[in-house]
Amino acid sequence: MPRSIEFREAIREAMCEEMRRDARVFLLGEEVAQYQGAYKVSRGMLKEFGPRRVIDAPISENGFSGLGIGAAMYGLRPIIEFMSWSFSLVAADQILNNAPKMLYMSGGQFPIPIVFRGNGGAGGQLGSTHSWCVESMYANVPGLKMAIPFDAYDAKGLLKTAIRDDNPVFVLESERLLSVKGEVPEGDYLVPFGEAAIRRQGTDCTIVSFGRPLYFCLEAAESLAAEGIECEVIDGRTVRPLDIETISRSVARTNYCVVVDESWPFASIGAELAAQIHVLNFDDLDNHVVRVQADDVPAPYAYNLEQEMLPNARKICEAVRAVTYAA
């Protein structure tokens, strides 16, 4: 039965359902137990599952990431929560240099079924060091999977898929979306990896994005519709694996494409999408792909500057008008 719940509740439901289903799953991270989660995602979980399965870690991201990898090597399925993905940088050696390579380097002997999750992204006026959009940098590493849920429904369905996956999965939850409500069915359902969702249908231009910037894409699409430009908005859902086929099919229909990515432009997911679409849709495109990315600066602290630095509806509208020669 669908009911409207917050994005954070959907994450919690996914973890609780999977922990009831599979005794090998446990949650480890900072403030996840007694404090009920720094962002209240794990509220009530200590009470239900006890301190054996919901564990407060010392402030030691590299430590609990490495511990999780070791536990996964001996048959468990850890969920490692980063209070913020910005803090995962100190754990880079474990999450990038160990987790995604262990199966490969051991010739298949040590699968690492682990989920690294937590909130991330800019836009909360938290200053540059706390406002990382790690997706482009991390997605560069083979051996991991990455999901970026757009709404509460996907937050639950993608996280459940992540927990059942036999590979390291990075789930990036936008801090700005945690309180956003959405329709979520009770009980079990999965959102498969590598299947993009068309969030809005349109015939004139394809807009592709992941996670929070999709709200700006949809906002832009509404105002562009008033101008007579109908945009198709595609939510990639997972960066690895990437459903480039759905995106490419859409571009073949619309002949124009704008990619929206809240990470920095250089060597980014936006750049990768543009490159792939240029190859796959070379004969379809009536203009080159245009990217709307964060400006190439650290996230500014001042509210107005940070909003200006990130992709927003205005920038997306301008990009769509430009790419479709409607400007």
Partner: protein, 375 residues
Amino acid sequence: MPAKIVFHAKIESVSILDEQGNFDAKLGKDVIPDTDVVRLYEHMTICRQFDEVAFKLQRSGRMGTYPENRGQEAVSLGAVYALHPDDWLVPCYRENCGLFWRGLPMEYILLHWMGDERGNEIPRDLYMTPQAIPIGTQMLHAVGLAWAGKYRKKDSIACAFFGDGATSEGDCHEALNFAANLDLPVVFVCQNNGWAISVPTKMQCSAPTLAQRGLAYGMECVQCDGNDIFAMAKVVGEAAERARRDHRPTFIEALTYRLGDHTTADDARRYRDEAELKKWLKRDPLIRIRTYLQQRKLFDDSREKALQARAREEVAAAVKRAEEIAAPTSSDMFDWLYAEMPGELATQRATLRTSGLGQDPSQLQEQSPAPSRNP
């Protein structure tokens, strides 16, 4: 008001069989029965032969790089001897002797250093992880393995091996803290061989012992003579018992010495005092056990001769097995990246082109990359 002393510390250093051949019968009682001492000596001799052959293979271009284990054999051997067969061994790269004792076929280590990742495909029933070449990263995995063992109510513990150099890494300190805070059954064995490549231990740590690093995290710690297999077996045996019984970790600093270079890419003569090396050559763990056996008439020259012949034969056979394994095929590099083969990777595997990403597969021809001699 005078300040109160709120913490006293002491570090014990354990030695049972010293370099003069003196044996502490009280401390050494029942640690290793004589029949096992003979077997351990034989095993260590074979490992020494392995080390010498591996070094020569590298020098003759048949192996890429090799880190000599020479002089440090007793540390891992004594430790593994004292552990159960399902206790996790989490090694770095100077534990060959202990790994072989557990049952790892010698060709695995040869394959690894010959540049073939299949040397890391360690059978699961050996309860050992692949050699960790980055420094200290494996210590956290040992903590996680111990965590999983405790979580699953297994009797097994984890034993992490690392060098003095690793104790400067954050991973080491995080591992010690987690193991102590979460009451985890881990035995940390620090092989203090005096040198982190060219940096001597005294330049890495101002404290008089490395063992006391464990104290700061609230765990038992002890120093021991790492070239004394009796001392190793005793302290690891006690630490393992503490881990199994109380779920408490122990930090062991095993004092040993790297008789060789850091790896074959190094030349220790450029930075190391010859006199220091000579001093440690006399403390060679092999000489020490041989003296012990000689004194008790458990071994003689004719057995030694036969042992040397057996060592040459066994190592030569392992080299043959390793060299007979055909090189991996280029499509093998795509296997085991994921637990299942993703579609885009299957395309890359079929076409052997990274540009398979985002390409129309029908436009790509299957091809084999030509071997390149470019650096």
